[in-house]
Amino acid sequence: MKSKDQILAEVRDRLVDLDSEAVKTACREALEAAVPPLEVVTRGLARGMEVVGERFERREYFLPELIMAGEVMREGLGVVEPHLTGSETQSGPMVVIGTVRGDMHDIGKGVVALLLRALGFQVRDLGFDVPAERFLEAVKEGGVRILAMSALLTATMPEMERVVDWLEKEGLRDRVKVIIGGAPITKAFGESIGVDYATNDAVEGVNVCKKWAAE
């Protein structure tokens, strides 16, 4: 008979293999073996996504693998979720994320949102071409711990500064951590506009959010 650790490792590893049928089977077997559903999610599926993220960071996996892993996780969750209690489905800290106005490149932003969701964050994805006002409104609505903005076009990067300025003017800056990302983003640019973190690496950004969530 398999131990709980072995059963959860099976869930994790099949997700890393990007095998959705095998993940669903492993999740069902875990539930049948009376593994707590929340552990199937956190120590099986979410841990698998972490491994996928690590491989992505090491350029052993690429965007198609990351996206497919998100799909496999979603299918695994479909098996486990009906068994979670109400309190267990409550998610972690809320992140508002979007690509700034004028920019419709949202691949990197999608990757970050995918990984954050897999790690249990509540993610409110505002999409692309998001005006500063919408970021501000989202923060005003409350409950937001992290504001994440992305840009690929250098010409749209000043929009990030506008959002930060507005947060300051509205007295909201201290309520949220602000992180920016995108291929042209540099630490120097981030410092110059007063954000808490700037990166051009999706996994690095997710790791920073994890650190903030743990504070």
């Binding site: 965007l63 419709m104 076009l153 010409a155 000043p158 110059s192």
Partner: protein, 374 residues
Amino acid sequence: MDVKERLLNAFTKGPVDKIPWLDAYGMAGRGRVEREARNMGMGIWWSRFLYDTELPNVTVEEKMKDGIIQRTYHTPKGSVSTKFRMSHGFGVSAGTPASRWFTNGFGPPDPWPWIIEYLIKEPSDYEAVRFMVEDAVLTPNYESLKRAEESLGSDGVMLARVEKSPIQKMFIQLMGVRTFALHYYKYRDKFDELRQAIEDKDDEAWRIAARSPAKIVHLPENLDGVVISPQIFERYHLPYYNKYASMMHESGKIVTAHMDGRLKSLARLIGKTDIDAIDAFTPPPTGDLSIAEAKEVWRGKFALFINFPVSVYLLGEKETRRYMAELLSSIAPGYGFIIGMTEDVPSHLIPMAVRVLGSALQDAYVPLSSDLQR
């Protein structure tokens, strides 16, 4: 040596008197800034398609609401639709799969069509899209290129434009990266059939290019090594590039491919291609492959048209000048290199960008010194 000769020689790694530079997509516009840049030796690059396209058995219906254009293609194999809207900055045209995707004259600062909903959303969409690809009739038209070349004279270079290679077209123009990823894993048969149909149609376009008066053929790839894995590149891109580079070489032409993304993970495999030049090569901090690394892995195999990373301009003129000096030092002695702008530059920074590039490059005589104190 005039601008055209300098650029052509750089693209073929021949002798040049100084490093050529280009404003690839007209960021400097027309007027004082551009005139001053041209006076400092800046060249022009124009590209033209060499064929007209028709889809004789497809009807197109277009609706517009709230600034969003919905275009539906009706084919005997079913209907597919795409949505796009006009916006500023570089976007992705919502043309037909085997047609001319870009309209000359579009591009920053003009509005550009951005796809917000792709043609292929479901596996059931493949058949209609494949029909559109196979239905496309390409009719050679060399007049546009000839007229443009006459008009351009010795002020720059003309390029013949072909389509993105099938995989790049599928993920950028037909399905978006999410559907691309899921269908690559879940519906490989349909995915591969469409890819092959596009390549078969591309074959006609490349043969038209081979018979054209163009000296340089431009493959507008937008390759990025975060999206495209080495496995995908080796399976699909590499044989495609080599097949058509070989065809162009037999016709006395060279091929330049637009690879503006992060290339480190693909560098070794790119080195196996028979293309002649890489344009829009973007070094750090935006790209992830430095000039030194590119030189080491490719050993001068390709002419490199280097995009000056725009994020550097945002750090001010002093830092831009420092980066420029370092860049020139890193490409020394400088044969087979072109420097320029190939991405969006915030409009308020264009005069500074042109000033820094122009003042450094108008006197960048080769062989360059690798001494940073130039």
